[in-house]
């Protein structure tokens, strides 16, 4: 090795008002170097490398977990000394079976193709949904990814402005209440109705996001505590709304559920009635592009990034830091509200206490895995969407509980958040391989 060790990454952003473009490696001195050196640096320096290695590490641990909680495997291991090959083979089969089942549920299942070719004619195949069945896993992945992408953006955008939005759940509930209420209580013409409902979801989420941002801006209260508290407030508030028929509860029963929303307000399906993929997916992609455009092509986005990089310097440069906090939380909350719209109007068609699921927490993992960038969020959302889409089939086929998806998700993010750990694990050279800039720890008082 003749190359000198590169400079360590600076732990804190400089006092410049210009934000460093997210994730870009620092400019380095140009020297004569071979192509091989360039390639190696590109691979080793890249945060993408860290992310891929984090995925591998998490998948390996998840596989071990699946293997060593499997009944057949444990029995085989108790006979390890008489039949070691059998024990290893059983463990491998359990882990591989889990991942194969996940893949078949989320991307492509060969059995559906076999069934397609057994049909007598193409028209019956199309008509009876055999063709759709081939694409069903992909459709499900898109359906699952839609709210994850939107909620992930709701975390990623404020993250760029230096705020950590844990309030995805409260904003989701706010959006869901608006979308569901507009969906069943209002009569509007066909296309207008669904647009109004989607926008209503945005407004509902934005109101809660703005509240957290405004409290932070006015009083300096840390947004993490405020958003966590708002999560509980909204959780109980939703339970309250769903507990009385004079509020949101559906008439004629004691279940905590709203009336079904009008069919006018359903998001249009994209690929026929057999597949659940709907216009929500397009909304998610459009929002990801919109967030990218906002961050990289507008003054507002520049101010967001600047405030995130160094609030003090931004203030000196004449920016209104507090206004930016409130605004970025408003937009972020609105995105979480849109996520709720896609769930309520796209797949659930009603609102109940299960509607918000774990989207609040999943959004954080999506945003962190996506390195806080819109493109990354889309990729991470698709990946986790695939895990979510494949997990029910996996549990049926292999008996591995669906919670393994949550474990894998958390492990991925844990590794992504600690690039030094990944480098140490995979013996990478200590380079500028930084993942998401979670190392810039600021604490409560920031």
């Amino acid at each position: 090795m003749t190359t000198p060790p590169p400079a360590p990454p600076s732990p804190e952003p400089g006092p410049s008002a210009t934000p460093p473009p997210a994730g870009e490696t620092e400019p380095r001195a140009e020297r004569e170097r071979s192509f091989g050196e360039h390639l190696r640096d590109a691979v080793q320096d890249s945060s993408v490398t860290v992310t891929v290695l984090a995925l591998i590490a998490a998948a390996v641990i998840g596989g071990l977990l699946a293997a060593f909680t499997n009944n057949a495997v444990l029995h085989a291991w108790s006979d390890f000394f008489s039949a070691p090959g059998n024990a290893v083979a059983k463990a491998w089969a359990a882990a591989a079976g889990t991942y194969v089942a996940l893949f078949e549920g989320s991307v492509f299942n060969p059995h559906t193709v076999a069934a397609l070719f057994q049909q007598s004619s193409l028209s019956t195949a199309v008509h009876d949904g055999f063709l759709s069945a081939v694409f069903n896993p992909l459709s499900e992945t898109a359906v699952q990814a839609t709210p994850l992408i939107l909620a992930g953006l709701a975390v990623a955008l404020p993250y760029q402005a230096g705020l950590f939005n844990i309030g995805g759940q409260s904003q989701f509930i706010g959006g869901a209440i608006m979308a569901a209420w507009l969906g069943y209580a209002v009569n509007l013409p066909f296309f207008v109705h669904v647009v109004v409902c989607v926008l209503g979801g945005f407004v509902g989420g934005a109101a809660l996001g703005w509240l957290a941002g405004e409290i932070k801006a006015r009083t300096g209260a840390h947004e993490v505590i405020v958003t966590i508290m708002l999560n509980y407030v909204m959780q109980y508030f939703l339970a309250y709304l769903l507990s009385s028929q004079s509020l949101l509860q559906a008439p004629g029963g004691s279940n905590s559920i709203t009336r079904a929303i009008a069919s006018d307000a359903h998001l249009p399906l994209l690929a026929g009635t057999h597949l659940r993929i709907n216009a929500g997916f397009l909304i998610a992609l459009a929002c990801a592009f919109g967030v990218w455009w906002l961050l990289n092509r507008t003054t507002t986005g520049f101010e967001f990034r600047s405030v995130g990089a160094n609030a003090k310097a931004s203030r000196v440069a004449g920016m209104n830091v507090e206004r930016n906090w409130a605004l970025v939380m408003l937009i972020g909350g609105g995105l979480a509200g849109l996520a709720a719209s896609t769930v309520i109007l796209g797949t659930d068609f009603t609102l109940n206490p299960q509607s918000y699921g774990t989207y609040g927490i999943d959004a954080i993992t999506v945003a962190l895995l996506g390195l806080g960038r819109p493109g990354g969020v889309v990729a991470a959302g698709l990946l986790f969407g695939a895990l979510h889409a494949g997990s029910p089939g996996m549990q049926t086929a292999t008996g591995t509980p669906v919670q393994i998806v949550q474990v894998i998700q958390a492990l991925i993010v844990l590794f992504v958040a600690a690039p030094p750990l990944v480098r140490a694990t995979f013996r990478l050279r200590a380079a500028r391989a930084r993942g998401v800039s979670t190392n810039m720890s600021k604490g409560w008082n920031a």
């Binding site: 732990p11 804190e12 006092p15 977990l65 909680t69 499997n70 009944n71 950590f164 844990i166 409290i215 006015r218 009083t219 300096g220 209260a221 993490v224 505590i225 405020v226 966590i228 508290m229 708002l230 509980y232 407030v233 959780q235 109980y236 508030f237 339970a239 309250y240 507990s243 160094n310 609030a311 003090k312 507090e322 927490i361 954080i364 993992t365 962190l368 591995t400 509980p401 919670q403 393994i404 998806v405 949550q406 474990v407 998700q409 958390a410 993010v413 844990l414 958040a417 600690a418 030094p420 750990l421 979670t438 190392n439 810039m440 720890s441 600021k442 604490g443 409560w444 008082n445 920031a446």
Partner: protein, 437 residues
């Protein structure tokens, strides 16, 4: 540290009041809030109360009995409201500068307003009912449901004072509960279960410490991710091994209440403080140890130094990173005990996500309690009190929206964090990793 300095800017830029209260609602936020409470007491509870309310102070089978207290419900509400309005007026005069109240009287006023509000609420809720309202049940129940929150809040205090944000309390509680259930069921020993729960809590804390201190990962992000990991892991293992082998893995005994001789027979105080689960006594001991430890010992001085100004601490030879590692891991033991309470202290078996966010509430209790052990315990009890009040009120068929009652502590926390009762100032270096230069 630029990060630590930047938080002073908003305070400098906004002409805030002398006591540093937040700028929302200005100086009049506190008196106006008390005024609202007073009006609630009178207009909502007073006008709708009827009959008389009977307060009972004696638990069942008590050796010493205290006579029941019977009060006219409406008059009680009016009285509470009138006193609250007087307190609001006093606070207003304080704000206007006519009278200068010190820190202690201001806090006494807050406590008084809340206390009177609860009395008025109870008078309204159980007025006209023939069954007396048992105050002792309310208070002792408050202590039992608060145990995990209190222990979690103590953990948070120790970690924060050392300069590490511990959001992973939720995960420590959950893994503690899980491991305590397994260990007790397998070994048959409650104490071994408790110890395993504590060790599980410190295992999560050790991971937190390693990532936060050595790898300098953002501690808030890290805590949330660790919580997700533990939630997924325990949920997975629950379904994978506990459901099929429930009898052999998830069937622990629970600790019986221990009554302390003599003290346990004192009326009112005895049943509340001295006739409880062993976990409550552990909480007392830990509270005393941490309070005295932080305020009066060399360990406490070093811990606070490391949390406030690690550079200075390092300069005088305190090992910053070692201190933080040790404190975070030891504090994890406390949260682990709190987790064990869920399975071997109260419920008797593990269920997925059984901590249901109490770790986050513990964190809020710490901030509410201004990073002091006693404050954190008090705030934890306030959270537990609303939970217990809600469950008692719903059991006596009071026409109150239990969901609205349950969300009040969270709203109160937001109001508190937003600076209604003065700016809460954490340790200066909290959450800032220390890099030796």
């Amino acid at each position: 540290m630029t990060a630590a300095a930047s938080d002073r800017l908003p305070v400098l830029l906004s002409p805030g009041p002398a006591d540093g209260a937040g700028s929302w609602g200005g100086r009049f936020a506190a008196p106006v809030t008390y005024l609202v409470f007073g009006l609630l007491d009178i207009l909502v509870f007073g006008l709708h109360a009827h009959g008389s309310v009977i307060f009972s102070f004696t638990p069942q089978f008590a050796k010493v009995t205290v006579p029941n207290l019977s009060l006219p419900a409406a008059a009680t509400c009016y009285f509470c409201g009138a006193v609250t309005l007087a307190l609001a007026a006093a606070r207003l005069l304080d704000v206007l500068g006519v009278v200068r109240l010190g820190r202690v009287p201001r806090r006494v006023i807050i406590g008084g307003v809340l206390f009177l509000f609860v009395i008025a609420l109870l008078a309204w809720a159980s007025g006209g009912q023939s069954i007396p309202f048992n105050v002792v049940n309310l208070l002792s129940g408050t202590f039992s449901v608060s145990i995990p929150i209190m222990l979690g809040a103590l953990t948070a205090v120790v970690c924060s004072t050392s300069g590490v944000i511990n959001i992973a309390i939720e995960g420590q509680l959950l893994l503690g509960a899980f491991c305590a259930a397994i260990a007790t069921t397998v070994t048959g020993s409650l104490w071994l279960g408790l110890i395993c729960g504590a060790l599980a809590g410190s295992l999560v804390a050790a991971v937190l410490a390693a990532f936060a201190i050595a790898y300098r990962v953002d501690q808030i992000v890290l805590g949330v991710v660790l919580n997700t990991l533990v939630l997924g892991l325990t949920g997975y293992l629950y379904n994978a091994i506990m459901v099929p082998y429930g009898d052999t893995l998830n069937n622990p005994n629970t600790f019986n209440p221990v009554k302390i001789p003599l003290l346990g027979d004192i009326p009112i105080i005895g049943p509340v403080f001295f006739d409880a689960s062993v976990f409550l006594y552990i909480t007392y001991v830990l509270l005393a140890v941490i309070q005295v430890g932080l305020a009066r010992t060399r360990w406490g001085l070093r811990t606070r130094a490391v949390g406030e100004h690690p550079v200075a601490a390092d300069t005088v030879g305190i090992r910053v990173l070692a201190t933080r590692y040790r404190n975070v891991i030891l504090a994890g033991l406390i949260a682990g005990i709190g987790g064990a309470y869920f399975t071997v202290g109260s419920v008797g078996s593990f269920g997925p996500d059984m901590t249901s966010g109490e770790g986050y509430i513990a964190l809020a209790a710490m901030i509410f309690g201004r990073y002091t052990p006693f404050g954190a315990i008090g705030a934890a009890l306030l959270f537990g009190f609303t939970t217990q009040l809600q469950s008692i009120l719903s059991s006596i068929n009071v026409p109150i929206q239990s969901n609205l009652l349950l969300l009040t502590p969270y709203v109160v926390t937001i109001i508190v964090v937003a600076g209604l009762v003065g700016k809460v100032r954490g340790p200066r270096a909290e959450g800032v990793p220390y890099v030796k230069s």
